[in-house]
């Protein structure tokens, strides 16, 4: 019995020790590499939350450009990844979005939109009445709106809201117009310097959204209000993996050579390529002997893509992983204006806008088209040259229903909804998809 007493005594002591340890914080550990939720409700930190939201969108933008460029006729997969080859061939797998490491560009954009929306709530909570005149709120509201524009251009459907039901891509442009209009109201409350910074960004975004939403007059108005020389880039850097650009990493001979100029344009390339790398150019659509400096490719004789199958022409524009990616430019605004003029059958003004871009790089101006078909061709050729591998071409082919004509039939014309979204979204079910359209 003495032993039993001893046991009970020791047992009690041990139990007390462990329970006391639990209560006194022995099990408390800290994660020094991340913030807790409450930590962010700080006027000093809140700026970084806003930058984080915009940064998320920028970091998604290169992946958006990558997959849409492969889907369209600008690039072809020269990789050995079946995922990429499927996109490049327009044969997207039923479970494509769940496989491979290239499945998540839409996820990234959706998460960036969420980050912007939650940042907006946090900014409003932390700054109170001052939020409306803070550039931080404008910044995240713009991210929220522009993310919708990107979503509408890349994927045939998606959720308009957090956890929302499927909506067709065109609904995203309408929603973006609403959001960006509200953002412009916020811009008016900013100080002069911040207004000068944010107004063209929001206007350029809304111009694109209005164009794709069919609000042509509004698109023209917005586009014309953007000053010449305006550029809004997604900024990348070599230093950190999260900031490196996919376009620079995959589409240039300095890196992976996983995607290069599509083969159907090899015979458009002007240039002489020897054993060292040199730059060539696709010829001007209107002058087959004249190089168009906006469509530059880099090549070395005999070099193939990383798949060892096709000749490789790298995209000179993105020579490294730190190469920035244009998101919005005044050049695009000229082309938006040109398109609106085209849709008004005002081919003279359309040509004038196009010629602004052509003459700026030393190409001969074009004459005004004489037919709707010619005008459309001129517009799309110019958009391909000016916005080469900037994420526009695939959607241009889709919205003008040209995928079958330009690349081939039996192809997906847009990217399908992320399967990750389908599986986790409480408003969605598998098997409900209605797109993408097949050429």
């Amino acid at each position: 019995m003495t032993y039993m007493k001893s046991i009970r005594h020791v047992g009690r002591l041990a139990l007390v020790a462990v329970l006391a340890a639990g209560c006194s914080g022995v099990f408390d550990v800290e994660d020094p590499q991340a913030f807790g939720d409450a930590d962010l409700n700080d006027p000093v930190i809140i700026k970084n939350v806003a930058d984080g939201a915009e940064g998320s969108l920028q970091q998604a933008y290169d992946d958006f450009v990558t997959v849409t460029s492969l889907l369209g006729d600008e690039l072809e997969s020269t990789s050995t990844w079946i995922d990429w080859e499927d996109i490049s061939e327009g044969r997207l797998r039923g479970d494509w979005a769940s496989t491979g490491s290239f499945s998540g560009p839409q996820d990234q954009v959706l998460r960036a939109r969420f980050a912007a929306q939650s940042a907006a709530d946090r900014i409003t909570t932390v700054l109170g009445a001052a939020a409306n005149s803070s550039p931080l709120l404008t910044q995240v509201k713009w991210v929220d709106g522009f993310a919708d524009v990107v979503l509408g251009m890349g994927w045939c459907e998606g959720p308009l809201t957090q956890g929302g039901a499927r909506s067709p891509n065109t609904a995203f442009f309408t929603q973006a117009v609403t959001k960006l209009t509200a953002t412009l109201t916020l811009v008016n409350s900013l100080n002069a310097a911040d207004q000068a910074k944010w107004r063209p960004i929001v206007l350029a975004s809304r111009a694109r959204a209005n164009l794709f939403a069919g609000n042509y007059d509004a698109a023209l108005s917005d586009a014309l209000a953007v000053p010449a020389g305006f550029v809004k880039n997604a900024v990348y850097a070599e230093a950190a993996a999260v900031q490196q650009s996919t376009t620079g990493n995959q589409f240039h001979q300095n890196r992976n050579r996983s995607g290069g100029l599509r083969r159907q344009y090899f015979n458009h390339v002007l240039g002489t390529f020897g054993s060292a790398y040199s730059t060539g150019y696709l010829y001007d659509w209107y002058a087959p002997t004249v190089s168009d400096p906006r469509i530059a490719v880099t090549r070395k004789a005999g070099e193939k893509g990383v798949n060892n199958r096709f000749d490789y022409y790298g995209i000179t524009k993105y020579s490294d992983r730190g190469s920035d990616q244009p998101m919005l430019t005044s050049k695009e605004m000229n082309l938006i204006a040109a398109e609106v003029y085209m849709r008004r059958n005002d081919y003279t003004n359309m040509a004038a806008k196009i010629n602004v871009e052509r003459t700026a790089v030393g190409l001969a101006p074009i004459t005004a088209p004489t037919s709707a078909a010619a005008a459309q061709t001129a517009l799309l050729n110019e958009r391909m040259a000016v916005l080469f591998v900037e994420g526009h071409r695939a959607y241009d082919l889709h919205r003008f229903n040209l995928v079958g004509t330009v690349i081939g039939t039996g192809r997906n014309t847009m990217l399908p909804l992320s399967r990750n979204e389908i599986l986790a979204n409480p408003s969605m079910k598998e098997g409900e998809a209605t797109c993408p359209r097949i050429s």
């Binding site: 930058d51 998320s56 797998r93 957090q162 929302g164 070599e238 490196q244 060892n308």
Partner: protein
């Protein structure tokens, strides 16, 4: 009169003082005592048995090991009648009663019989104190590592486990020396957490990481790049296998309950050697040499048929295979007195891989000291230091994988720079890289045992394992490393600082109850504190050749990650022994853990087991049955979440080149708790014909509930990481059987045969209503099952212009079509494993062989279509015409591979181990003034037969402790190993 047998306070104080000054041996005085000597011989052959433990029952201080001649000697034995017990793994214990007279020497000679049944073997892991195996109801595997090393010397202790204990899988995954080993027990018990059993060495929890750490989240993403590549050093390769006495393996939750929140995957405890008792120091010297050589079955034998555009004839990657030399020397000494013993050892080895550059240089030092200052107190102090430097092979899913480039190229693209038609980085450039893992490690601990009396004992273990590991990778300035993201050179340095500290107290109290019932009560507590700090620095773009530091790079970056886990647990257990034949054990462990959610408290793990030794019933069993034990066990164990998985967190992330940003990271879960595995197990052991045949069999069913499911929020709902929630369940059903047959046991000839068999089926049974993206975890199928699109049609298409991306030929395009979605192929792990071993001794020669067999596993054989899509592979090239022209068959293969990945079976039969050992005749060894001497010629992984369309069906680049095991992509096969080992004692 002072007596160490009657320690009072004064004595205790004196011993403590003496210990402080390292003078404990001075206390080893005794009066009124006698001595004991004798020999331990094999009953059948009469051969002396080395390493048998001779122990006076009830006196911890009175014990000794037999030497090469089977002799033992002890002094300071209390006078009077004493019971002396002799134990040795593989033999039946024997007991004799001897009378010790003061200042006299008594003799007790033993002839112990080999036994195929080991029910009387004493084990300690997870049992609440030392106990015979026959008294525990759960499955506990043991391995006599010292004996195994005698017959089949290996350099890596995990590879020695392969096919030795049923239910334990140990397969090399990396190929290069020092690389990882896929070590797991009884299938898959978690969807996403570490799969490796927890490892203890002499009661101290140790680092057992086997996968790459430089890719850790929070570190690599904030630096420019991960180290992806290299071969992933396995920290278990730090151990010196010659230091290991034996290994105990708790196979499942029912056996491992007392290890609580880290034991779902099982527990492996390594026991290192101790000093000998009385007698002169015995030195043991081992000299090893040999080489590694990969099997020359790389699928590039057709390459030399082709030439590149510059006229370079393509090279066969089999040309890269070399003999990688191996040399090692180890020495150890065992000695001491009755009250203080020591074991010291040193090892130095260098092993070179068959594909180079790849080598491992390792040095080990160990000192194990045991003091017995009084009859009641034993102090064991252990200290081990390891330096392990590995020049890692560039392998794995990696742009600079050496063989990956050499065998995945296109021979038509061969050039002077790329003679193998390398797709990404030329082999010659890869060979200029340097990838090094350099680890310093100290593992030490103290075990204090105090026997208040033989029935009331205490044991306290305190120990630490400290690993300082540096990994570096260097790309020289010159080289075509573009695909790897490197221009003008790069230097990466990663530092890993790992600590785990263990404290473990166990008390046992034995007492008798009425009705011939004995009670063994154990109680205690166990805790560990584990921390890991990772740092990485990267320098990119050197100004020129000749510099190799991070700071010399034009673009530098760094990253850091830190984790910390604290676990404390209480345990209590009572074993009731009824008439020494029925044993019933009840136990409970209760854990608190820093990784549990803030709102979650303590976790309880109960267990119950029963063992019934029928052989203790006189006359019950027929004479042919010499032993029969039935057993059953039911118990729980847990698996704690990741250190910070429960925290809601936002990540600091740079944006816009140099601007700080913060983004949603982990949604967290305040209710996060450990995964709970409940296992029930039934089994029996039977000995036949006087234990010449031993059969052991188990059937188990384990169900893991509260399995952590990575439930993603919809991307539109934010957070990059999935939320960890305890909503899943999975089950493992399996069986294990082993047979050991002492076929012939004669003085000059004996033959022992053994069979180990096991089967396991795994299934995901609940995902809490969640459908996970990907195919790794799908309801109703095995975790990490192998899925892929399957062909579903075939026709010859004559329209179009291309065929698999190549211009269409006159015969059209042989077109295979595929299913829209991935379909199930099979499980990732074998559903059946078998190992057949034979040891034949004829006079001075012993021949040993082990053949293994695996069946049922599938893997994604990504290399196969990859090579074909590149325009390489013997499979494709041999289908081309005599002049390399395309054929219908070649087009068919090419088009298939352009749309489908290939999934193949891992089924194989392998000649895993073989050795021939010669015991040098005593006359000859005496001539050289040395003792027992042996020479072994041994080989591992010698040959295999498969149907996998791959180089080696065991290839798995992501294995080790990783969840991902279904892919063999860009992995490298393990080499064949040939060794000559000379071992002598003096």
């Amino acid at each position: 009169m002072h007596s160490t047998r009657s320690p009072g306070n004064r004595t205790t104080r004196r011993w403590l003082l003496a210990l402080a000054f390292g003078l404990v041996p001075a206390l080893a005085q005794a009066q009124g005592t006698g001595m004991l000597t004798g020999t331990v011989l094999d009953r059948a052959s009469g051969a002396p048995i080395n390493g048998a433990r001779v122990q006076v029952v009830g006196d911890a201080a009175a014990g000794a090991n037999s030497d090469d001649n089977g002799r033992y000697f002890m002094r300071n034995i209390a006078v009077g009648q004493q019971t002396v017990r002799v134990t040795r793994i593989g033999f039946r214990p024997e007991v004799q009663t001897v009378t010790i007279a003061a200042n006299d020497t008594a003799t007790a000679n033993f002839r112990i019989a080999a036994s195929a049944v080991e029910l009387q073997q004493v084990v300690v892991t997870g049992t609440g104190g030392a106990v015979e195996k026959r008294k525990i109801g759960a499955s506990l595997g043991t391995m006599d590592m010292a004996a195994q090393q005698e017959i089949m010397p290996v350099q890596n202790f995990t590879s020695a486990l392969a096919n030795k204990v049923s239910g334990v899988r140990s397969v090399g995954v990396g190929g290069g020396v020092g690389g990882g080993q896929d070590l797991r027990i009884r299938g898959i018990a978690s969807f996403s957490l570490n799969q490796r059993p927890v490892i203890y060495i002499d009661g101290v929890r140790v680092d057992s990481r086997g996968t790459e750490w430089t890719t850790a989240t929070g570190m690599a993403s904030t630096a420019c790049c991960s180290f992806s590549g290299g071969n992933s050093a396995d920290r278990l390769s730090d151990l010196n296998p010659n230091d290991i006495e034996r290994v105990e393996i708790l196979k499942g939750a029912a056996a491992a309950t007392l290890y609580g929140s880290e034991a779902t995957n099982g527990v492996i405890q390594v026991f290192t050697k101790k000093g000998r008792g009385e007698g002169r120091t015995q030195w043991n010297l081992g000299l090893g040499t040999g080489f590694n050589r990969l099997r020359e079955n790389l699928p590039t034998k057709e390459f030399p048929r082709f030439t590149g555009s510059d006229g370079t004839q393509a090279k066969d990657a089999n040309d890269l295979i070399q003999n990688g030399p191996f040399n090692a020397v180890d020495i150890s000494g065992q000695g001491g007195t009755t009250r203080s013993t020591y074991y010291v050892s040193a090892l130095g080895s260098k092993e070179v891989g068959s594909i180079q550059p790849n080598d491992q240089v390792k040095g080990n030092l160990r000192a194990n000291l045991t003091f017995v200052p009084t009859d009641k107190i034993t102090v064991e102090v252990r200290s081990a230091y390891t330096r392990n430097v590995i020049n890692e092979l560039q392998a794995g899913n990696n742009w600079t994988a050496l063989l990956g480039n050499a065998i995945n190229g296109n021979p038509r693209n061969a050039s002077a720079l790329r003679p193998y038609g390398e797709a990404w980085v030329p082999v010659a450039d890869i060979e200029t890289m340097e990838t090094k893992s350099d680890a310093d490690r100290w593992t030490g601990g103290v075990t204090l045992s105090y026997a208040f009396n033989p029935s009331f004992t205490h044991r306290l273990i305190f120990g630490t394992d400290a690993v300082n590991e540096q990994k570096s990778r260097f790309f020289p300035y010159a080289g075509n490393f573009g695909p790897a993201g490197v221009t003008n050179g790069q230097r990466n340095i990663g530092l890993r600082n790992y600590r785990t500290t263990t404290i473990d107290y166990l008390g046992t109290l034995n007492f008798k109850l009425p009705f011939n019932i004995e009670s063994n009560f154990s109680y205690g507590g166990q805790g560990f504190w584990e921390s890991q700090r990772l740092n990485i620095a990267v320098g990119n773009n050197f100004p020129g050749p000749g510099v190799s530091t991070v700071a010399a790079g034009a673009v530098t970056s760094g990253g850091e990650a830190f984790t910390e886990t604290i676990n404390l647990g209480l345990l209590a257990q009572n074993r009731f022994a009824i008439s020494d034949r029925l044993f019933i054990t009840l136990g409970l462990r209760m854990d608190g853990n820093s990784a549990f959610g803030a709102d979650y408290g303590f976790q309880k793990y109960p267990k119950i087991d029963a063992s019934y030794d029928l052989s203790k019933h006189e006359g019950l069993l027929p004479s042919v049955v010499s032993a029969l034990r039935l057993r059953a066990a039911l118990g729980q164990a847990g698996k704690m979440p990741g250190p910070f998985d429960s925290f809601t967190s936002y990540a600091a992330q740079p944006v816009f080149e140099d601007v700080p940003g913060i983004v949603p990271l982990n949604p967290g879960n305040v209710d996060l708790r450990p995964e709970i595995t409940t296992e029930r197990e039934f089994g029996f052991e039977i000995g036949l014909w006087n234990d010449r045949v031993g059969i052991e069999a188990s059937q188990y069913y384990s169900e893991t509930n509260d399995a952590i499911v990575n439930r993603s929020f919809a991307p539109s709902q934010g957070f990059n990481q999935a939320q960890r929630v305890n909503i899943g369940a999975l089950e493992n059903r399996g069986w294990e059987a082993s047979l050991k047959y002492l076929v012939i046991s004669q003085a000059k000839f004996d033959w022992t045969a053994g069979v180990n068999l096991d089967g396991n089926k795994n299934k995901v049974t609940d995902l809490g209503g969640v459908t996970l993206a990907g195919n790794a975890v799908r309801l109703g199928y095995p975790a990490q099952g192998v899925w892929g699109q399957k062909p579903n049609g075939y026709s010859v298409v004559t329209t179009g212009t291309t065929c698999g991306g190549q211009p269409i030929q006159s015969w059209g395009c042989p077109t295979t079509t595929r299913t829209a979605a991935a379909e199930y192929f099979g499980p990732p792990l074998p559903t059946f494993n078998a190992g057949f071993s034979n040891t034949v001794r004829w006079g001075a020669f012993s021949l040993y062989g082990l053949v293994s067999m695996e069946k049922g596993a599938w893997f994604s054989n990504g290399d196969r279509p990859y090579r074909i899509r590149q325009g390489g592979s013997d499979e494709y090239l041999s289908a081309l015409g005599p002049n390399g022209e395309r054929t219908f068959k070649a087009d068919s293969i090419f088009q298939w591979s352009s749309i489908l990945s290939h999934n193949d079976k891992r089924d194989n039969i392998r000649l895993r181990e073989m050795s021939l050992t010669w015991q040098v005749p005593q006359g000859l060894s005496s001539f050289f003034n040395v003792g027992r001497t042996s020479m072994s010629l041994a080989g591992q992984n010698l040959m295999w037969w498969d149907d996998c369309n791959c180089v080696d069906p065991n290839m798995n680049w992501a294995g080790a402790d990783s969840f991902t095991i279904g892919s063999g992509f860009l992995a490298q096969p393990a080499p064949r190993q040939f060794r000559l080992q000379i071992r002598t004692r003096f």
